[in-house]
């Protein structure tokens, strides 16, 4: 039979030799192994002081992006909710009133936009489905809570701040390959 790895060993139940029987050489060998580990570099990350570096494309807490003028990009089309395999996204649409052009980019916007973080599996399909480049996953971690209710994140948490200095950087997720893929989004969905 073909071996799965080259590390497998043939097991035998041959009689142990005298040296094996008294165990001492094996014990000394084991102790030397633990001693080398004693002086080895520790693999611990001391958490509050150090944090583990995330992958650039880590899929964490979502952000609802604004455009350059600070208007909400989301038009409440519902494609993300349709794409969501966990059915974590719900939204209620509303019509933009005259005088709200500086708040919303298009005539329709999401009055309520909620993601249930307990249902979300962080697959990133919402991001892929979005035709308006409005929702992105970021490298932020969803904080733990004591109750279920606070896990339903509304626009107050998801929407990025208006202040340009406090915008959430998602450039790492928008590499050339991603941009190119997004160009052909219409076909990508038909896969």
């Amino acid at each position: 039979m073909q071996k799965l790895t080259d590390r497998s060993k043939v097991v035998s139940d041959k009689k142990m030799t005298f040296l094996e029987k008294i165990y001492l050489p094996a014990i000394l060998k084991g102790m030397s192994i633990t001693l080398t580990h004693f002086f080895r570099k520790k693999s611990t990350i001391s958490y509050p002081e150090q944090t583990r570096e995330f992958s650039k494309v880590y899929r964490g807490q979502h952000v609802l992006k604004r455009d350059e003028l600070g208007r909400e990009r989301c038009t409440s089309c519902g494609l993300c909710a349709v794409a969501c395999p966990a059915e974590a996204i719900t939204m209620i649409s509303a019509e933009r009133k005259p005088g709200e052009e500086h708040l919303y980019r298009e005539e329709k916007y999401a009055a309520v936009y909620e993601i249930d973080m307990l249902r979300c599996i962080f697959c990133g399909d919402c991001e892929e489905a979005c035709p308006k480049e409005a929702i992105f996953l970021t490298d932020r971690i969803v904080a733990s809570e004591y109750k279920r209710k606070p896990f339903i994140y509304g626009k107050d948490i998801l929407l990025e701040p208006l202040d340009p200095a406090k915008r959430i950087d998602i450039s790492a997720r928008q590499t050339d390959a991603v941009q190119k893929f997004k160009e052909n989004k219409r076909f990508a969905h038909n896969k």
Partner: protein
């Protein structure tokens, strides 16, 4: 005996008690650090600098825990168990020579509380009584796991005490004395017994591991099979006493091993330095503690290297391995001294 001697002995007794408790306390810290380092971790480092206050935090935690005595347990024996374990563990330190003599104002003060002429036997007696702490605790719990643990402890202790005693007999043949003080004196100048009794030392070491219930012989508290072994039903500081007694035992047996086989407070090349006797004594004590800490490290090192024995393997090793070897060791030593003394 006059009053100064009484006062000195009392003070020294308290110092030894405190040092024993302190070392045992920081052994728990050391154990966790050693375990962590051998597993590529960092170990406790939050309470105080380098986590040095961790033992205190653990102690406070132990005291704050709810004290539970099961309804079906025998209350008196249940409390007696950890008390015996703790008391006997602390009593052994009395006969160990912690250093040579200090002289103040023309008077000599021995750094040994009681120089019994049968010091070794006293140590054995105390260790044997220590088994009662575990046995009574396990019995009084009225829990089958605790009972299993204590039965295991009892049979393990009896089996390994035999081999331990026999390995000591060979040592007594070489030294010709049962007094720990004299045994240390004879090892002056690198005449350490470990060089004369290597086999005896190995046997004694293995038995010491078994006697202190340390891995790979920690079957009485074997978590994987017996929940918690003899201390399954114990909580709060009574559990703490059992665990603490184990660390005191480890400290004391390290001290006994250093005394019997590694020359106690004797330092190599101390005579050539030409220091005043008091400094020599203090240096010797420091060196003695260095040896003890080395032994404690060995205890921990072995614990975090070897897996636990199976019970039949344990009994096999004890009765078919160590005891015949110990008897052979006695025989060989006896024959050697018989013929060298003839010529």
């Amino acid at each position: 005996m006059d009053w100064t001697l009484y006062i000195y002995k009392t003070i020294f007794l308290f110092i030894i008690l405190l040092v024993t408790l302190l070392v045992a306390m920081y052994s728990t810290y050391g154990e966790r650090k050693v375990a962590a380092f051998m597993q590529d971790r960092r170990g406790p480092n939050r309470a105080g600098p380098f986590g040095l206050l961790q033992p205190l935090a653990d102690g406070v935690k132990m005291f704050m825990k709810e004290e539970i005595i099961p309804l079906s347990a025998n209350r008196i024996l249940f409390i007696l168990g950890p008390s015996i374990a703790m008391t006997t563990a602390l009593l052994t330190g009395v006969v160990i020579p912690w250093g040579a003599t200090l002289s103040f104002g023309g008077r000599e003060f021995s750094m040994q509380i009681a120089d019994l002429n049968i010091g070794i036997l006293y140590v054995f007696a105390m260790v044997s009584i220590g088994v009662y702490g575990i046995m009574i605790g396990g019995w009084a719990s009225n829990n089958k796991y605790a009972l299993y643990g204590s039965i295991r402890a009892a049979s393990q202790m009896i089996s390994y005490e035999l081999a331990m005693g026999l390995s000591i007999v060979a040592l007594v043949i070489t030294t010709g004395s049962l007094s720990l003080h004299e045994i240390v004196q004879q090892q002056h100048g690198m005449h350490w017994n470990v060089f004369y009794q290597p086999l005896g030392f190995l046997l004694f070491l293995i038995c010491a591991f078994a006697e202190t219930n340390r891995a790979p012989f920690d079957l009485p508290e074997c978590e994987t099979e017996l929940v918690g072994g003899y201390h399954t039903e114990y909580s709060s500081m009574k559990l703490g006493f059992y665990l603490f007694a184990e660390y005191i035992n480890m400290f004391i047996s390290s001290a006994v091993i250093s005394t019997l086989y590694f020359g106690g407070y004797n330092m190599p090349f101390i005579d050539q330095l030409g220091l005043s006797p008091n400094i020599v004594t203090l240096l010797g004590t420091a060196f003695f503690f260095l040896k003890i800490f080395g032994m404690i490290f060995l205890f921990m090192w072995v614990r975090w290297t070897l897996p636990r024995f199976r019970y039949d393997q344990l009994m096999n090793l004890g009765w078919k391995g160590l005891i015949p070897l110990a008897i052979f060791n006695i025989l060989a030593t006896g024959v050697y001294y018989y013929f060298t003394e003839l010529t």
